[in-house]
Subunit: 220 residues, 4 copies
């Protein structure tokens, strides 16, 4: 379908994978992945959890940095005015809904952050971790596509990272919101791919790692 | 229409106007408002320029802080990887496409910022200006709804401001993208209103200003 | 003593207290306040803990927002390259050295943040908390004056807050470093006062609070 | 001299140069480098300008990213409360005092930013530029050591970059303030070296660049 976005060349220039990848995981905490909670009942999010778990297994095996986060605050005093009832209750530090989904987190490997706002980059030390790890490409996973994932994609792009979104690793309450947001970000900020593509790119770099490492040591 | 968002109470709790308002204007520069440029040919954006100009006239008369911005960079070296061809050419410092639309800017009144990324809050000194001005409520205007406006709304919310979007003061290339994004942000971050409502709220506070000012001076 | 700073008018213009105050407390965690730890043996820091505890008691009684923090990270992977041996060991999430000094924290009242870098403002959701609380004046306490306190003072100023430092509520390893840093920041960013002055200013505003509140409600 | 800092191992662990260097230049604008202005009369700053110009010549020849900045604001409305009289006058956008020293800037090469606060990293798009350029090591130059340079060093460290300060490329109003600040940051955040060391490290990497580049292309 041709429209004004096409006429102005939106989405025309692919981002591409760079040299050093990282995987960031947005809000796969029980509030959104456990059916006990009202916001945790979306099959579309369950699909994303399963696919992200598989992606993370490869990432960790290949020494790719992984950052996870959950959303929480100290009290109503420091909670910014979320309009969603489901988000405003039970998200205080220590609440069960703030715990990470056990399918996702590896406490011994991942860098974990607590956030209070939509983006995993906002009000966290994620950028320092990525800079220190010399990452140039961020693979964004998590939920929800039309909320905290969208915000994290914008920020990943804004901070200067090549930004890649495996479509099957981000989930939403409703598929229509999921699709509309991937359309927006695919036009401007990020490449929309599959987890299979991400896994292949991670493995390809892992095989080359030894030579790269040697070269790097030589230059330091 | 009932869906999972409704079930989880998204959009249930209105934000409301606070005590001190500011108007921020995103990217009403010639690249997006002048038909000379490929991205400047959307009637939907023209509508937003006209309505924002009227809103700004009232805001300035009532001493409401106004912040404007344009997008630009020094060279290809510091341009992050925008996927849109229309954005990657002619947006260097000093280029005509980076000049503000004359219907919008009042150089003697507005605080003006240069940005290189989607959000007017990102990589600018906007937050210090709002904090110093004791603003608690940010009215977001500009273009495009599905791009830099969406990013600015998320950040306004994240920084802790009550965030208000006059629907007729934000414009897009395509109305479908405009509507989808207002739906997303109205569920989570911001109240979607009209410019008429914003003008009324600004005028109402202006009438009360003298008393408030007296009270403040007494407490300092 | 007259010097080039004086000639250029550094320190000439006082900041002054504004309308709404907050107290932020930097790094009063066991690593720096408990003699069990190498960095926790400075009498100058103990003095600051005692004076800050007294200031916080008044602040909480007067409904002044309080923000505390501790420094910690997930692992060596996300620890930035601190040059100090004492900081690089035992500061992982959950370690005893990351626990707040019991004289300082009130978990039911304070907004608490985890940071990984010098400033309490960096990589935390402190600014959103202060914005939401309509704070215009930040009183900075904690340790060490020549390290994380200095960084926090700069950021408080940069974010647009009036910044006040009660000299007896910030502590250091060595008094010479303490004095040199207060001289620097007093010339540029912040007023250097005593905790007695801060307590008096907090109490004075608290007495006026009922009227102010009434006025505010009327304007909304 | 042994003290509590030494006992706690401050300054013990050197940072070291990484793989990809950048030079950032803080505030070498006429306000601070031209004797026409009150703050521009320090011989210590003149020394730093001359040495930085020499360093930049090598950096540009070796394709090392260079970022410069000047401090300015739109009006008193968006100027945060600097306590120094010399900074509060004549620093508005377009004022002569905001122009870069001609010995320093190369408009065709450098990424240039406008800042309103002490640190070159704060409220600018510097981090995205460094991330996009895959920089892991930031060489900080400019003025003044005890003001905007100190703030920039802290932020460079906080963002996760290896931070290097060539002592002869940063200048101050008074040498005592210069020395005290280098002592503080050398204990915690940055290696204090000379411009000769930086030039040697830049040249050494430049000679290896061709091979590294080939290796990188192979892995992408």
């Amino acid at each position: 379908m041709s429209d004004r976005f096409d006429a102005a060349g939106y989405g025309e220039i692919p981002v591409g994978f760079g040299e050093r990848l990282a995987v960031v995981v947005v809000d796969f905490q029980l509030a959104f992945t456990d059916p006990t909670y009202q916001a945790g009942r979306s099959p579309h999010i369950q699909r994303a959890v399963v696919n992200t778990a598989a992606l993370l297994k490869v990432a960790r095996a290949c020494d790719v940095p992984v950052a996870t986060c959950h959303t929480a605050w100290s009290s109503e005093r420091d909670m910014i005015p979320w309009k969603a009832a489901a988000i405003r209750v039970g998200m205080f530090h220590g609440d069960p809904a703030t715990q990470m989904d056990p399918r996702i987190r590896d406490a011994a490997y991942d860098a974990h952050f607590v956030k209070a706002t939509p983006s995993i980059f906002f009000g966290t030390a994620l950028v320092p971790f990525l800079v220190k790890s010399k990452v140039d490409t961020v693979i964004v996973t998590g939920c929800t596509t039309s909320g905290c994932v969208r915000a994290s994609i914008i920020d990943s792009f804004a901070w200067g990272f090549r930004t890649i979104v495996p479509e099957d690793c981000v989930g939403d309450m409703e598929e229509s919101a999921h699709r509309a947001n991937l359309l927006d970000v695919g036009r401007r900020y990020a490449d929309i791919v599959t987890s299979a593509t991400c896994i292949a790119e991670i493995k390809r770099r892992a095989r080359k790692q030894p030579d790269t490492q040697g070269e790097e040591h030589a230059t330091v």
